[in-house]
Amino acid sequence: MTDKPLQGKLAIVTGATRGIGRAIAERFVADGAAVIGTGTKPDGEVPEGCRYQQLQLSDEASVDSMCRVVEKEAPHIVVNNAGISNPQGWDKLDAKTFKATQQIDLIAPMMLCKAAIPGMRKHKWGRFVGISALSGTYFGRPTRASLGAAKAGLVAVHMSLASELARDGILANCVAPGFIDTDVLPQLFTKEEIEALAKRAPIGRLGTTKELAALVAFLAGPDNTYMTGQQILIDGGFTRTL
C-alpha cells in the first residue's frame, strides 16, 4: 500500500454527507482520490476535499441528471451507499412504500452503475462497490421486506456487472455491514437496544464507519485485482454465529 493508492482516481459516493458514506468519502480523499459526494439537500455538506452534488434517488429526473454527470465525469470508482430502509411489518406493508424503496435502493443505483460503465471501459479499470445489507441476503428479519428485496437486488446487480465486465478489468462487489455506529442507529433503536445489539456480535461492540470504509477502500483500490462478484460481510462475526 502506497500512501496515496487512489491518486489519479475519481470516485463517486452516494450519501456522503453522513454515516458510512461520509466515512468512505473521507477515506477516499485521504487515499488521494478526487471524490464527488452526493446528498439529498441543495447545499449538503460533504467531507473536505469532496465536490458536492445534489441527488434525490427517489426522483427519476434527479437520477437522470446525475447519470449525465456520471457519464461526463467518467469515475473510476462508484460506491452506491445511499439507501433507505422503510421498515414495515407485513400487516402495514404497502406497494407504494415497497416500490419507493426499490427505486432508492436498487433502481437508481443500477442506473448510476450503467452510466459509469463507458468511462470505466475507456479507463480499462473500474471498481463498483455496493453497500448491501444482511437482511435479505443472509437472513430474513421482521419489517425488512422492502429493504431486503432491494438489497438482494443490489447484490444481484453487482454480480451481473461483475460477470459481464470482469474481462475488462472492472470489478464489482458488495459489502454487507453489521451493526455500525452511525447516526441512523439511534433513529431505529433505543440506547438499551443498541447496547444489546453491540453484544450480539462475538466482537462485543459496534463496528465503526472507519472500519467499514477501510474495507471499501480495499475493494475499490489497486490492491484488489482478483476479487469480484462477492459480498463481504463486515459484522464482527454476528451473522455466522448463533
Partner: protein
C-alpha cells in the same frame, strides 16, 4: 509502501513458494517480522524471513513447532501450507484421506491453538487460514481436499466467535485458480489454459493477488471482519456465463 505492520510478528506456514511466499514477502514489505516454515531444514524463504522447518504430516514435528509458536507469541498467523491430491471418491485410500486432513486441518488447528495465548495477551491477533474454492464449489475427485478445507473454514468460524472479544479476528481466504507449482502438478499446460478461460476474469490469479487480500485481513486495516471465508477467485464461484 507504508510500514503499517511494524512491530508485528507473523508466522506463515509454507512460505517457500507460491501463495505463502507472496504473503511472507508482502507482510515483510509492510514492516512485519516474518517467520516462514517449510518442510526442509534451511528451506529457501524470501530474504529477511526467519526459517522454521516443520512437517505438518508428522504430529511430533507439529508439536515441537507449536512449542515454538507459544514462545514466539506471534500477532499474525497464516496457515497457508497444504496439500492437494485429487482422487475420485471410490479410489480414496483411508490413509491418504487421513494424511491430507492431518496436514490441511489438524496441524492448522494445533498451530492456531498454540498462537492464541500470545494473541490474547497482546489483546490483538489476526489469523488467516487459507481455505479453498472446493467447498463453496465442487469438482470431481476433490472430496479429500474439499472436506479438509471446508472443515478448516468451519473451524475458523467457531474460533472467530470464541476469540473476537479478545481483539483476535479469524478469517479464511479461498483462492481461485492460482498460478502456483501446486496447480501445475494437477493440470497439464493445455488444461491450465482452458481453466483460465473458464474464469470470468479470463486468467489465473497470481500468488501476489491472493496475498493482498490475506494481508489486508491480517492487518490493522481490518477491524470488524471476522468469521468469514473470503473468495478471491476472479468471479469463479458466483458468476456463470451460460
Amino acid at each position: 509502501m507504508t510500514k503499517s505492520l511494524s512491530g508485528k510478528l507473523a508466522i506463515v506456514t509454507g512460505a517457500s513458494r507460491g501463495i505463502g511466499r507472496a504473503i511472507a514477502e508482502q507482510l515483510q514489505a509492510r514492516g512485519a517480522e516474518v517467520i516462514g516454515t517449510s518442510t526442509k531444514p534451511g528451506g529457501e524463504l524470501p530474504k529477511g524471513c526467519r526459517h522454521e522447518a516443520v512437517r505438518l504430516d508428522d504430529p511430533a514435528s507439529v508439536a515441537a513447532f507449536c512449542k515454538t509458536v507459544e514462545k514466539l507469541a506471534p500477532h499474525i498467523l497464516i496457515n497457508n501450507a497444504g496439500v492437494a491430491n485429487p482422487q475420485t471418491f471410490e479410489t480414496i485410500a483411508d490413509d491418504e484421506f487421513r494424511r491430507v486432513h492431518e496436514i490441511n486441518l489438524v496441524a492448522p488447528m494445533a498451530i492456531c491453538r498454540a498462537a492464541l495465548p500470545g494473541m490474547k495477551r497482546h489483546g490483538w491477533g489476526r489469523i488467516v487460514n487459507i481455505s479453498s474454492i472446493w467447498g463453496p464449489l465442487s469438482r470431481v475427485a476433490r472430496s479429500t481436499y474439499a472436506s479438509s478445507k471446508a472443515a478448516l473454514d468451519g473451524m475458523s468460524g467457531c474460533l472467530a466467535a470464541e476469540v473476537a472479544s479478545h481483539g483476535v479476528l479469524v478469517n479464511c481466504v479461498a483462492p481461485g485458480f492460482t498460478e502456483t507449482e501446486m496447480i501445475k502438478t494437477i493440470f497439464p499446460p493445455d488444461k491450465l489454459d482452458a481453466l483460465a478461460k473458464s474464469v470470468p476474469m479470463k486468467r489465473l490469479a497470481q500468488p501476489a493477488e491472493i496475498a493482498k487480500a490475506v494481508v489486508w485481513l491480517a492487518s490493522a486495516e481490518n477491524g470488524y471482519v471476522t468469521g468469514q471465508n473470503i473468495l478471491v477467485d476472479g468471479g469463479l464461484s458466483r458468476l456463470k456465463e451460460v
